[in-house]
Symmetry: C2
């Protein structure tokens, strides 16, 4: 029911995913969903509709959504997973409420201190995983360290990377640069089995040279929204200027392919959603502005995560690093 | 002596500024500076050369630069100001060393807890002042509050804004969003005489709708470098694509004016340097990559700051907010 476009985009996206063999449960107002479904060619596909009488609005507070809207589509969807009737949840609705429902209904994997949102951003080369992009603020070194572990498993199992490189976001390349939490997390990451490459800076995020960038959710959220805003602003300036004379209009026509590629890099739709990592099950937070392509990609990503057993691998990864997990818990407390 | 291009760019820029009536002291290796000066038409201009036998290299640590290179160009320049022989310092050299020398040689204005670097970024409309962009990490609420006061004075006296709007960088628009320091600083800013507009998000920085954005130096430094990196990446993608066929090459020729404007917005040169606010005198940290235009703009900005008595006004602004300064110092301790 959520997102800027609601069932109009979500339902056709789900139908497209079902055609690829993914079993779908559409959770929301039965009448609305069925009406939308009637307009799609969904005959014979593995799609069922599960009714939910409430909807979390975009301005509802997460805590209120959790307590007062027990029959909201997001909460019903999470319970479906909890009860073993589905394997993962994808939502383009209120992201705070999605995170809260995921955490409280599904719960954390044992040993995970703070689940985190992983933003998957397009770059000049491969996408980069920025973790956390807003589930936590004032993260402790231990939390940052675990973000690295969680993103490593995700990058292997879902993005198909063999040995993803992990950097920690800081304000200088050399060890010892950064704030107190980053400096301590650096030490933990250095001792881990991850392919840790040390500090990376803001300018390194979009070069595509690093696969995973670890940061506190405050910093990651600012970075995510800043890059989105800047790309939009630059695109707008270019568009305005190119329209300003018939000469440049003609020029634009001739350069169309180039602009398409520019837009593709600045377009988040391609990578779909931000997985909330560290929960017992898959929750994917789709961008509110998600179009059909973005939603399909989200559903695919959730399915890949389930098929490739990312959750089991995270449990193993945590066990492999138990020494570091334990040791630093004290120093971070 | 500093910056990617050294005296080759700094000396001609200083000559250009001198032609506008700004008195210049060029501090550095006398022989090198004089040789460069001989190539410029500097006859009759108010320019003197002050010898400094040492140079801080880009990879020198600030503390080392301070202790071991007492006769470096940056330290000699700061002492010149301290001794009343100049009114401000501009440097494109090692920015950490410039900040350290500024702080230790010139000292803070009484009442200022943490001097901060103000980045001046181009946007779709007016430039935005982002403060702090890297002089401090782990800032207390009180520090963030004072960044707002310092940037307000700067925006009035140097950028010529009448009543600059001030936002605090957070991860949601509503009051109460953000990390602990931001939430407390919000309360202080709300009670101040500043034109405080509340939380702003990463996406709001480049719209040009807010004049001043307050943040911790870790976050600001990431934001600054991220936007620089992203603008460069997007420019490069566009350029590569536009070169990829003769059709789009022709298109580019026809759209030249549009690309110039695009570059202008993504080009930091126009605004020159980042002033280090809160010191007893003017210190301007120029971008290492500064070209001649950027350096001239830096020198102009330093001169405007001196002429418009920004320092005296900051002392008054601090006095006006003594209640808030005092009150919160306890709560932040």
């Amino acid at each position: 029911m959520g997102g800027d476009f609601g069932p109009q985009v979500v339902v056709p996206a789900a139908v497209e995913a079902a055609r690829e063999g993914i079993a779908i449960a559409l959770v929301g107002d039965e009448a609305v969903v069925n009406a939308e479904l009637a307009g799609c060619d969904a005959e014979g596909l593995d799609i069922r509709v599960v009714h939910a009488s409430q909807v979390v609005e975009m301005d509802d507070k997460p805590a209120d959504a959790l307590r007062r809207k027990k029959d909201s589509s997001i909460q019903v969807a999470c319970r479906l997973v909890k009860d073993g009737e589905a394997h993962g949840v994808v939502s383009a609705g209120n992201s705070g409420a999605t995170v809260a429902c995921g955490m409280f209904v599904l719960g954390r994997i044992k040993g995970v201190q703070r689940p985190a949102l992983a933003g998957i951003l397009p770059t000049e080369k491969n996408p980069v995983v920025l973790i956390d992009v807003g589930a936590n603020v004032d993260s402790k070194p231990q939390h940052l360290f675990q973000f690295g572990l969680m993103a490593d498993v995700f990058a292997r199992d879902v993005l198909g990377l063999d040995k993803p490189s992990v950097g920690i976001l800081s304000i200088g390349e050399e060890e010892g640069k950064g704030n107190a939490a980053v400096r301590e997390a650096f030490d933990l990451l250095k001792k881990s089995q991850l392919r840790f490459i040390g500090n990376v800076e803001g300018r390194d995020i979009f070069t595509g040279e690093v696969d995973i960038v670890v940061c506190d959710g405050f910093v990651g959220n600012v970075a995510l929204k800043l890059s989105e805003g800047l790309a939009t602003s630059l695109g707008r300036i270019l568009k305005d200027e190119l329209k300003s004379s018939w000469l440049s209009k003609l020029g634009t026509l001739l350069s169309m392919r180039a602009f398409k590629r520019f837009r593709k890099v600045t377009d988040y739709a391609e990578y779909g959603g931000a997985p909330l990592l560290g929960l017992k099950d898959i929750v994917l937070v789709a961008h509110g502005k998600s179009n059909q392509l973005a939603m399909v990609n989200c559903i695919r990503m959730a399915a890949t995560s389930v098929r490739n057993r990312a959750h089991e691998h995270l449990v193993e990864k945590l066990a492999d690093h138990q020494g570091l997990n334990g040791k630093s818990e004290k120093s971070a407390a």
